[in-house]
Symmetry: C2
Subunit: 143 residues, 2 copies
DNA sequence: TTCCTAAATAAGAATTGTTACTATTTAGTA
DNA sequence: TACTAAATAGTAACAATTCTTATTTAGGAA
């Protein structure tokens, strides 16, 4: 992980007014040093090698705090439970970052986006799915 | 829900060689009749009004079977646990539908996609995130 | 139609990922 | 160096999902 990332982390955490603990440093160092997208258990196992007494609870709390502080993000629509979709035609989603509401929309253009050259090396692209994120009309009104 | 959807469901299930039970019909009817993206518990509660003895387990098994048969899909990267990402710069994902591996890539063009008119009514778009789905090189080789 | 059998179900127990509780420790400050 | 609020470890609790087992049923055969 770069010095710059570490410096940014220290600054943002100081801004947030939280304490700079060993555990927080090591947990951030772990996640910032990898480009796969590990889950909490994986981070816990790796951090444990350096900090044997760290608890899984601390890992969860720290990840949640880092997310709150804008230092990390999570994959997919805001966690919670698995949601199902009977619409199997190609379609895309508008997702409200406030309330999590997800609405379908259709767009031919998005169904066949030009695949960037970097991605050609990763594998064969079969579908493209666009997620447009923002604030839904309802949340905007009630705000 | 349209007759056509129901017909397609019956055909696909017959193809899969599974039994056409009341429970499966009603669970599919429920999810196909709505455009929000309900979770298993919601589907369970709604189906229960018509089939009071249905079990939550059956709902889970049926949804999983319908997904396997290609009749429904799930939102987000394949369920399982929450995964974290220390990359907070705007970026996009290539996701392998076989093994679930998720790789980051960057593309200016995808950062600012033209928002379709339908979506303008849904709310204000702040970010766009593209998920290109396919088979990663590794899975392709080992296949 | 009735019978048969493998598949599916209901009910509840078990498992897994995540969060909460509480006594102890520690970062930041005086 | 001492103080205090915040953070931690350890464990218990919780919620979503899956498994186990005895019972029921769809679909095919007689």
């Amino acid at each position: 992980m770069s010095e710059q990332m570490m410096a940014e982390m220290l600054e943002k955490l100081r801004e947030s007014g939280v304490k700079l603990t060993h555990q927080r440093m090591e947990i951030f160092r772990e996640i910032a040093g990898r480009t796969d997208h590990p889950d909490a258990a994986t981070i816990y196992e790796c951090v444990r090698k350096r900090l044997p007494t760290v608890s899984l609870d601390t890992v969860y709390r720290t990840l949640s705090m880092l997310k709150e502080a804008g230092l990390i993000s999570t994959l997919g629509p805001n966690q919670d439970r698995l949601r199902f979709d009977a619409n199997i035609a190609p379609h895309h989603h508008f997702v409200c970052t406030k309330c999590g509401k997800t609405e379908d929309f259709y767009c031919e253009e998005f169904n066949a986006l030009r695949v960037p050259s970097d991605v050609l090396n990763m594998g064969i692209v079969e579908h493209s799915h666009v997620e447009l994120r923002g604030i839904c009309s309802e949340c905007r009104r009630s705000n």
